[in-house]
Symmetry: C2
Subunit: 256 residues, 2 copies
DNA sequence: GTATGATTCAAACGGTCGTTTGAATTGCTT
DNA sequence: AAGCAATTCAAACGACCGTTTGAATCATAC
């Protein structure tokens, strides 16, 4: 337990935020374990004990970092989804639109250098690979609402897809994205191209959205025979609610 | 420095392998940092100092784990690719075939419970999210040959795709896969479906390959105008080398 | 059976970690 | 100016970490 906090006065707020910012940097760079409170408080130029005074513990600090960033991020996601649904007037959305509403805010945040959002995004990618229960619970509670909303939207947009298959494909999409935003420079594994730092997040968006849309709308594993068969183009123009029917002909939803 | 090793006699080999096996288990479960040598040697029922006697250090132990597993894994990958190329007799391969050759061995290994391969696969997924230079160099040196071979094969199979775009899409694919094999039960983030432990790796393969193939062969970001436009089905039957041409019509390779 | 090298063992070393403590300092209110 | 809570600070605590050491034990060859 530590003293109850009143509305911060003076530069106590500065101390808190300096800790949060430095923690974001070092956690993103070295991970939650390797970044020590000593290194962190030294970078923030505050006393070691300030972390426990203002947050209570190291995991509480981690929690605070996520709360500060994830709330507006998810609000933006849901806001974009709301806007899409308002514009659609009851008709299903396009997979591409839903994907952009989900991953767009992340990629835009990763572009926002001055607010330090890009550092948090790296941190978020790192958290996805964590196995400590406390971190996983953190992510889970932060994601539960937004994932459910987007899952439902995708379910409506892809009426031909079984729930289970949809869950897996969302899983694959999240994996591709978290790998990208983790920014462990794993592209280096692929080739010697210096694609990494030089890319603008907008261009990453342009690259990954078609990839994800195509994967999401790929033919079901056991629909038809050939591995290379694909569903027909799902052309969708505004005001034509039957647009998703093209795929529905050859992919049937299976009972859960 | 520690004594030079001679062909192990008696159950010294057992000690070495017990360490390797327990290390695999605990590293996969808790990560490289959180799994201590003390916990590891206790699980293996060997003395703490045995790690340094047989391996020299903790990172050398990690290296040994990867060498033991990664060599046969990559050999299998290259073997499958060789077989495909032999059968194709100079013609380009199908993206699906290449993807299966690359990810199939991984998923099959993750199914191999008795040899403990599934634990290593989780470990491999974990290593992909590591940022420590020593781990990244490990992966890089292990991947460089096999990635170059597969990159070249994909480049031939997708003549319409710029190298840079291909590098990114391989990156996305690796991300989706590493997320899956890391097995951090992140599907739990998606939904309450109990897809996780119950799935056989073969069925995961059936699910992820179409996803990856579709993503890999998706239309290029700035080809055409609409976000939802897709390239035509890339039907490919054996012995018809022009099968990839359908896509080539609308996607043009850009100079690097 | 005794010498010799390989292996195991208990114990300790030096270091870093998250956390706690209690006093010093600051900033605001009366 | 005094009082008091909020905040900062240096120092230490106890635990755990990877690593090292040197002696004990084992297996094998002579």
């Amino acid at each position: 337990m530590h003293p109850k906090k009143y509305p911060p006065s003076g530069d106590s707020l500065n101390t808190r935020e300096r800790i949060l910012n430095s923690a974001e940097v070092l956690f993103a760079e070295h991970g939650f374990e390797r970044a020590s409170l000593r290194a962190l408080t030294a970078a923030a130029q505050v006393n070691l004990a300030a972390v426990h005074y203002h947050f209570g513990s190291k995991v509480a600090l981690i929690r605070a970092i996520f709360e500060r960033r994830l709330a507006p991020l998810n609000a933006e996601r849901l806001g974009e989804l709301d806007a899409l649904e308002d514009a659609a007037r009851g008709r299903p959305l396009t997979p591409a639109g839903i994907i952009e509403a989900f991953f767009g805010p992340v990629l835009r945040m990763s572009m926002n250098l001055e607010s330090g959002g890009h550092r948090f995004i790296r941190l978020l990618g790192r958290a996805h690979a964590e196995s400590r229960p406390v971190i996983r619970e953190l992510l889970e509670s932060a994601y539960v609402e937004v994932v459910e909303r987007f899952r439902a939207a995708l379910y409506r947009a892809l009426p031909q897809m079984p729930e289970k298959e949809l869950a897996w494909r969302m899983h694959f999409m999240l994996g591709a994205m978290s790998y990208v935003i983790a920014g462990t420079d794993a592209v280096q594994l692929i080739a010697s191209y210096e694609v990494r730092k030089s890319e603008h997040p907008e261009s990453v968006m342009k690259r990954i959205v078609p990839f994800l849309v195509a994967g999401l709308t790929a033919p079901l594993p056991d629909a038809g025979t050939a591995k290379t068969r694909r569903i027909e183009p799902q052309i969708r123009t505004r005001g034509e609610p039957r647009s998703a029917r093209g795929a529905e002909r050859r992919i049937e939803r299976k009972a859960a």
